[in-house]
Symmetry: C2
Subunit: 237 residues, 2 copies
C-alpha cells in the first residue's frame, strides 16, 4: 500500500541513517524536499544523496522560514494536498528530516495535515543530541538520572527550571539566546559542566566547554549545549 514516509536521516553523517531508512528511500517514487536558497539541495537531501534511487522524482517546494505559524500552515497545507494526491494515485512519497522526524520537525506538521487521508509511516533517525553524546562518548543519562531537552527559545523561567531540576539538560539551538543562557548557567556555577557542540556531525564540528566562551560570542546556528551536573566517574563512587 502506498504511504507517506517521514524519514530521519540523522544529524549529518550519511552512515547515520538506519537500514530501514535506506530501504525506505530505495522504494520511494517521489521525494518532497525543501527548496534551499543557494544551491538546489537541502542538508537532509545531501545526507541521503548516496541512497537516492536514480529514477526518484524530486519535488523541491518552498517551506517558509518565518516565525508566524499561520503563514507556515498555509504553505504546508498546499504541499500536504499535493502529497495526498500523489499517495492516493499509488506513489510512495517520502519526506526527509534532519535528525529524528519526532524531534522538532516540519514533518510532524505535514503528517498532522495528512492524518486520515493517507497512510503515514515514520522512520526514526538519530537525533542531534544522541549523536553529540556519542561523539563525546559521554552518557546522556545513567541510573535514576533525568534528561530534559529544551529549546533555547524557551523563556528564562523555563530554562532556569530545566537547569535546576534535572541531572542532564540538552539546550537546542543555543545560538538563538546565547547570552541569556550563558548568564543562567554562570549564575549557577555550571559553565564548566556544560559542553557546547557547534555543527554536530557536520563539517566544522567543534566541542568546547561553555566556560571557554565569552557571553557576547556568536555561535553557528546548529549549536547545542549539553549540561551534565553529575560526575559520572564510577571509580570515585
Amino acid at each position: 500500500m502506498a504511504s507517506f514516509f517521514g524519514i530521519g536521516v540523522g544529524p549529518g553523517d550519511s552512515e547515520l541513517l538506519t537500514i530501514k531508512a535506506v530501504n525506505t528511500i530505495k522504494n520511494l517514487d517521489i521525494l518532497y524536499t525543501p527548496q534551499a536558497r543557494k544551491n538546489g539541495k537541502s542538508i537532509a537531501e545531501k545526507i541521503a544523496a548516496p541512497y537516492l534511487p536514480l529514477k526518484l522524482e524530486i519535488k523541491r517546494r518552498h517551506f517558509p522560514m518565518v516565525k508566524d505559524l499561520e503563514t507556515k500552515v498555509r504553505s504546508w497545507q498546499e504541499i500536504a494536498d499535493e502529497i495526498a494526491v500523489d499517495v492516493q494515485t499509488g506513489k510512495n512519497v517520502g519526506f526527509l528530516t534532519l535528525g529524528d522526524p519526532s524531534v522538532y520537525s516540519t514533518f510532524s506538521y505535514i503528517a498532522e495535515l495528512l492524518k486520515g487521508r493517507v497512510e503515514i509511516q515514520t522512520i526514526a533517525g538519530i537525533s542531534s543530541f544522541s549523536q553529540i553524546a556519542a561523539n563525546l562518548s559521554t552518557p546522556l543519562m545513567l541510573d535514576d538520572e533525568t534528561l530534559e531537552v529544551i529549546p533555547a527559545t524557551a523563556n528564562s523561567a523555563q530554562l532556569a527550571e530545566a537547569i535546576d531540576l534535572n541531572d542532564n539538560v540538552v539546550i537546542m539551538k543555543i545560538a538563538t539566546n546565547f547570552a541569556k543562557i550563558y548568564q543562567i548557567l554562570k549564575d549557577r556555577n555550571l559553565l564548566n559542566k556544560t559542553i557546547v557542540v557547534e555543527n554536530a556531525s557536520m563539517a566544522g564540528q567543534k566541542e568546547k566547554v561553555l566556560a571557554d566562551y565569552s557571553i557576547d560570542d556568536r555561535l553557528p546556528y546548529f549549536s547545542t549545549a549539553l549540561l551534565k551536573k553529575g560526575n559520572h566517574d564510577v571509580k570515585n563512587n
Copy 2:
C-alpha cells in the same frame, strides 16, 4: 587503530541499526555480550545477529542484575580489564547495547572504566522513546516544547515536577512503579493524554492509552509511557 566500540542496536527491529553500526560490527574481532539466563543470547545480540561476521569471537560474560552499584562495578572492572587487554593486543572489541548507548546503558560504565586506557568510540542508536514516537507517528516535541525523560524509579516529587513542568514526558520502565505513576497522572487528569507502549519494537508490542488500564495492572518490563499535554492538531491552532 584498534578500539573499543559501544554500538547501539536500536530497540528491537534489526532494520533499526544504522549503516555505521553495521559497518562497525563487520570489522569487529571480539564481541562482549551479557550472558543471558536461559538460552545463550542477549536481546541485543539477537537484534544484531544478521550482521555478525562468521569469524567473530563472542565472549559472553556475566553482568550482575543487582541494585548494588559496588557489586556491579566490581564485575564490570574485571570485564573492563579483559577488554583493555584485547584492545591493547590490536583487536577491535565491540559491546552491543539495546537502544542508544548514551541512554541508561551499562556501556557507559564500562567505557568510564576504560577511559585513558584504550580508544573508545560510541555508535549512536535509535532509543526506545524515539521509536515509540515513530510507531505512533506522533512528535516527541514541536516548536518551543520541552521533553523530559525520567525513569519510573525516580521519587514521587521528581515525577510530579517532571509532569507538571514539561509539555512532553517519557517515563521509562513504567512497570516498576506503575501504581504510583498512574495515581500522579490521574490526580492531574492526564490519564487520557498518556500512551503506554508495551514491548516497544519487539514481538508483542501493544499501545494503549493509560486511561484504559487499572491502577493494579501488571505490565511487561519493557513498557514506556509517553505523556503529551498539548493537542498538536495544527488545523485548530
